[in-house]
């Protein structure tokens, strides 16, 4: 069964450092997303990406965040200067289409710990 793959599974970084979280979406999917889940809280939308550009972003996705699809298979989330409050589980997701009745498939997540 096709799946979304994320690396690394756990990343520990110093405050102020840059991190890049990587995702390989399902191969024939066209829509890509990043969500995050702070420990014990709900899953929150960060950004959606289609046709090599951001289609929607939340207020959480400020100038410290960026996304890229550098080579047609990987989808990355970069945090330029990490803060303690960026510590969370980050989930990548992809879907074949957009809108209702479209299943978004989630990866297993990257746990980011900022110290």
């Amino acid at each position: 069964e096709p799946e979304v793959t994320q690396t690394p599974s756990h990343q520990v970084t110093q405050m102020g450092q840059e991190v890049i979280l990587r995702c390989v979406p399902i191969s024939n999917h066209l829509y890509f997303y990043w969500y995050r889940q702070i420990l014990g809280q709900k899953v929150e939308f960060l950004v959606s990406f289609y046709n090599n550009e951001i289609s929607e972003k939340s207020e959480i996705f400020d100038d410290q965040f960026s996304v890229e699809r550098p080579d047609g298979s990987n989808f990355t989330l970069k945090i330029r200067s990490t803060k303690l409050e960026d510590s969370a589980m980050y989930f990548c997701a992809s879907s074949a289409q957009q809108g209702a009745n479209t299943e978004a498939f989630f990866g297993q997540g990257t746990r980011l710990t900022v110290v």
Partner: protein, 112 residues
């Protein structure tokens, strides 16, 4: 308002019992309501979903009941099994854009 409110926060059910999780939304533009199941260390996985033009959808032991006028929907797990122990999230999509708005999650534990 984009919020989706979910209750209870945690639930303990005996094996064979019925687990019920409730959600409420405010944005009437939402037009797709999926439920996600999440096991520890894994990402959320789609369990079952409903459109607002139907009042109930059943797939195996899982049923969504939808009340459009009350803006509420619920997940019923019949004959709950220990393997159902997980965190369940309701979600909503629509209202402009392609993002899922998640509820706060319910940690379900099914005891023998």
């Amino acid at each position: 308002q984009q919020q989706v409110k979910q209750s209870p926060q945690s639930l303990i059910v005996q094996k064979g019992g019925i687990s019920i999780i409730n959600c409420a939304y405010e944005n009437t533009a939402f037009d797709y309501f999926p439920w996600y199941q999440q096991f520890p260390g894994k990402g959320p996985a789609l369990l079952i979903a409903i459109r607002p033009d139907v009042s109930e959808k059943k797939e195996g032991r899982f049923t969504i009941s939808f009340n459009k006028s009350a803006k509420q929907f619920s997940l019923h797990i019949m004959d709950s099994q220990p393997g159902d122990s997980a965190t369940y999230f309701c979600a909503a999509l629509g209202g402009g854009g392609n993002k899922l708005t998640f509820g706060t999650g319910t940690q379900l534990k099914v005891e023998l």
